[in-house]
């Protein structure tokens, strides 16, 4: 009987201890898996979000993140100028404006209006209906359609917050031409999209020619495109998606990585301690048997291998169980975290990554080895004669 079979029989011999160990490892392994998914999940998801559409360079007036800094003035002209650069295939200015509707029971309902101008594709995908083209046409997100009880063909009274005082402005009736997935919709947000001209019209014709950001589709290398824009307009910030990702990572997501690192260390340590305790108790209960096997000629290496394999089996079984458990837990936690206001609605915290899975397996393997070190030392240094004597006396 080889070490694996021997260790397996040892585990089966003590089902309660084995079950406790495997479930313990499965629980902490699930947490470990989640921490590893969380560690890079936000960045992966944000990268996916940034790259979801064809825009690969973003232009803002300052280094602040979009929707948090000053606006780009003369948006239409600036967008046109950028579009004319040879490194640019298309560009689109986007302006986020606060909007207001009367909801159920005439309670005011806050919303966001995304006004666009330019030649690049709009930042939404129409689910049903069509894109808005006219000066009084909009698309609404699914959440907006539900909250405002509208659908394709409905008319909405649009009130927006303009640069000038808006109290006296009457709502602008706009027609819903489509229900769409809006790329920049935030969690819990009600979003409406349409031409920037709609915003200007809703503001009574006052100048609304400003943009939070200009989205650019490069003609080739986005870094060259960003450099060309910076060269042509030194007053603007042009960053590629990758640079934007780094900026977001540096400013907003470091906390998650730090938390993830701390919890990863805690879970690995806890897992190792749990298995060490279980194996040490098990080995101490079997000292007589181990000494007898050594007396019968089983080598020290073989006995050490038995402990290591036993540890590996417990951790291996726990690790296998931890993956579906961790994934289910990740889905639940992701659902909770995504409800945080102010985050892109399509952003995920826990994203499957092959690297995270491999790291999880590597950490579990290291845990099995780490956990077995102390009980292996007990076996390795066990004095055969003294143990046999002690067992008889005991």
């Amino acid at each position: 009987m080889k070490a694996v079979g021997f260790a397996w029989r040892s585990l089966v011999r003590q089902p309660a201890r084995t079950t406790l160990g495997v479930l313990g490892v499965a629980a902490v392994g699930a947490l470990l898996f989640d921490m590893l998914l969380l560690s890079h999940g936000l960045i992966v998801s944000m990268g996916d979000l940034l790259n979801r559409r064809s825009y690969d360079v973003r232009v803002t007036s300052t280094a602040a993140l979009p929707r948090s800094g000053p606006l780009v003035r003369q948006a239409a002209a600036t967008t046109g100028a950028i579009e004319r650069l040879p490194e640019v295939r298309a560009a689109l200015a986007i302006r986020f404006a606060d909007a207001r509707f009367d909801g159920r029971d005439n309670l005011p309902l806050a919303a966001t209006f995304e006004g666009i101008t330019g030649t690049a594709e709009p930042p939404w995908s129409v689910r049903r209906g069509r894109d808005p083209h006219g000066m009084d046409e909009v698309v609404v997100s699914e959440s907006a359609a539900q909250a405002l009880a509208v659908d394709v063909g409905s008319t909405l009274p649009l009130s927006v917050r303009c640069r000038v005082a808006d109290e006296a402005l009457p709502p602008l009736p706009v027609r819903v031409t489509g229900v769409a997935d809006l790329t920049f919709e935030l969690s819990g947000e009600i979003t409406i999209g349409g031409p920037l001209a709609v915003l200007e019209q809703a503001c009574g014709g006052t100048d609304q020619d400003e943009a939070d950001m200009i989205l650019v589709v490069s003609a080739g290398d986005p870094r060259r495109t960003a450099a060309a824009i910076r060269s042509a307009r030194p007053d603007l910030q042009a960053v590629t998606n990758q640079e934007m990702l780094v900026r977001i990572q540096d400013t907003g997501f470091t906390y998650f990585r730090q938390i993830s690192s701390v919890l990863t260390t805690v879970t690995v340590t806890f897992s190792a301690l749990l298995i060490t305790v279980l194996l040490t108790v098990s080995v101490n209960q079997r000292l007589g048997e181990i000494a007898a096997l050594r007396a019968l000629g089983f080598s020290r290496g073989r006995m050490i291998a038995d402990v290591l394999v036993e540890s590996s089996l417990i951790v291996g079984l726990g690790a296998v169980l931890s993956l579906p458990l961790g994934w289910a837990l990740a889905l639940g936690l992701d659902d909770i975290l995504r409800r945080m206001p102010g985050l892109p609605a399509q952003l995920h915290f826990f994203v499957y990554q092959a690297d995270a899975l491999l790291l999880h397996l590597a950490l579990m393997a290291a845990t099995a080895l780490l956990a077995a070190l102390y009980p292996m030392r007990i076996v390795a240094t066990l004095p055969i004669a003294a143990t046999l004597r002690a067992e008889v006396i005991g």
Partner: protein, 245 residues
Amino acid sequence: MNPEHELRSPKRDLGTVRGDVIVDADRVSRVFQMPAGPVTAVHDVTLDIRAGDYVAVRGPSGCGKSTLLHMLGCVDAPTGGTLRFDGHDVTTLSDRARSLLRLTHLGFVFQRFFLLPMLTAWENVELPQSEAGVPKPARQQRTRELLEYVGLAARADHRPSQLSGGEMQRVAIARALANRPRLLLADEPTGELDSATGDQIAALLDRVNADGTALVIVTHDAGLAARATRILTMADGRVASEVTR
């Protein structure tokens, strides 16, 4: 001293080995370093164990019987003197080599049996052969023979918890014989058994010896010791007397 992988019947060919020195202990001592000071458990013991010998070691508790047995069985090393197995100084052997020596040339029977509870009687007997690398068909044949030899063929699939004390000790003897040891060492083999069962085990050990395996038994049981051809009586770590019959 390579593992003996070939299998023979439990009965040895006495004509070729009887009388050869298996273990030669020359003024061996064993001193334990205790917090209160060194304790000499075995002091200047000289003896040899020859093929076919049946040696009983007697004496009061703490006189060094088990320590001597452990040294003869290469699980403990003397702190003084020399101990040779088949002419090889065992104190110079590595731990691995001593393990191999025990696996292939020595058998141990313990007072508390120390059968592995998660294995059946069959698996317990098969285990040392598996460790010695005996091929499966030969292993199975040898295991079947040994369980028949100890009268437990019908209990092969039983776990130790399903066996009586006497049956467990018989399985332990079969396990000790699994790799055809030249020397079988038993430490109080009847110590946990009632007298009737102890007699059965004693009879089995007689048979093992008669079939060619040298025996060294440490025992308080006068009846068991009386079956031996050499009786060593120890006192204060020394061999106080030796009676050969």
